[in-house]
């Protein structure tokens, strides 16, 4: 199989740069620096931890810092930013709970094609013993990415509401990001346990059902205008 890691890293850098440029132009220098600098640190640390804990293994051809690939992780802050930009279409930016809900729904849908392609080309693999679909993507992963999107949104949104002087918000985020990474490991482990328990109870059918709720039922509920969903979204 041909080595496409260079193409993956090129894509990651271009996407990161385009999103940074857009954020800089629409939200301003301060917010762009916060989202992308902190997002990069957050992703780098999270993926280092996942590699060390043997939940994830990257191709050796990737340029790396420590255990995590230094360029390929740029996909994640960029895709989180795209999910955040789309979430703003549905919910008020200042309504943190609604934004977290939309990030939880949008992030896995945007990351799933990347994960499926990454696994297909062996850019990365998931060596855990969890059940998988799409030729190697674990069932727990979309839920874990949803939790990651919501948690990152909470951290950014909560700190942006605090009135610090100068670069105070940025420094607060620099302290909060590694703490959130530690919490994310715990949350990912929890999601993994819940999904594996579901597999024991209802087999893979139940897991496909759970994916169907995340990927089909909730977006369709929004499109079909189910009132309860509208209330949840507005909250």
């Amino acid at each position: 199989m041909a080595d496409t890691t260079l193409a993956a890293q090129f894509l990651a850098v271009v996407l990161f740069a385009a999103c940074l440029f857009h954020s800089w132009n629409t939200e301003g220098r301060r917010y762009a620096q916060q989202w992308f600098f902190i997002g990069y640190i957050f992703s780098l640390l999270l993926f280092s931890l996942l590699v060390v804990l043997q939940q994830l293994a990257f191709d050796e051809a990737f340029l790396s810092i420590g255990a995590a690939p230094s360029l390929a992780v740029m996909f994640y802050p960029a895709i989180l930013y795209l999910a955040y930009t789309l979430a703003k279409i549905f919910a008020d930016e200042t309504d943190l709970r609604a934004m977290m809900y939309w990030m939880f729904l949008l992030t896995p849908a945007l990351l799933l094609p990347l994960d499926a392609t990454g696994v297909q080309w062996r850019w990365w693999t998931y060596p855990s013993e969890s059940l998988d679909f799409l030729n190697g993507v674990p069932f727990y992963l979309p839920f874990a990415w949803g939790v990651m999107g919501a948690a990152f949104m909470y951290m950014m949104g909560r700190i942006r509401k605090i009135r610090f002087r100068g670069s105070g918000q940025l420094f607060a985020m620099m302290i909060a990001a590694p703490l959130l990474d530690g919490l994310m490991i715990l949350l990912i482990a929890l999601v993994q346990v819940v999904i594996n328990a579901l597999a024991v109870v209802g087999g893979t059918g139940l897991l496909y059902g759970a994916l169907g709720v995340l990927f089909i039922a909730l977006p369709l509920a929004l499109a079909l205008n189910i009132p309860r969903m509208r209330r949840a979204a507005r909250r």
Binding site: L82, L86, T117
Partner: protein
């Protein structure tokens, strides 16, 4: 006035392609020039157009990689949730 503006843009476009003018003479230069300018100005100002454009290009690149890698049919199912969200956005994507 409109004619003068069109001539100016066409001249700029023609100067940009002047080296290969004969090779690109079949292209509708003014339309390409205006479309590019419109896309770039939208990218700077609109919060709605950019994510869709960026995601469309990203997914197109991933799709091409999947096709080149001879991916199994199931792998293409990974794009279905994003496609569904695109439909939801088309239906409900206005606050």
């Amino acid at each position: 006035m409109h004619n003068a503006q069109w001539t100016m843009e066409n001249a700029q476009c023609h100067s940009a392609f002047s080296i290969h003018h004969s090779a690109f003479s079949f292209l509708p230069c003014d339309i390409i020039f205006k479309s590019l300018r419109r896309i770039i100005s939208h990218m700077n100002t609109s919060s709605f157009q950019f994510p869709l454009l960026a995601l469309a290009l990203l997914f197109l690149a991933l799709l091409i990689l999947d096709v080149l890698g001879g991916a199994a049919g199931a792998v293409y199912g990974a794009f279905a949730p994003a496609l569904l969200w695109a439909i939801v956005l088309a239906v409900k994507g206005r606050r």
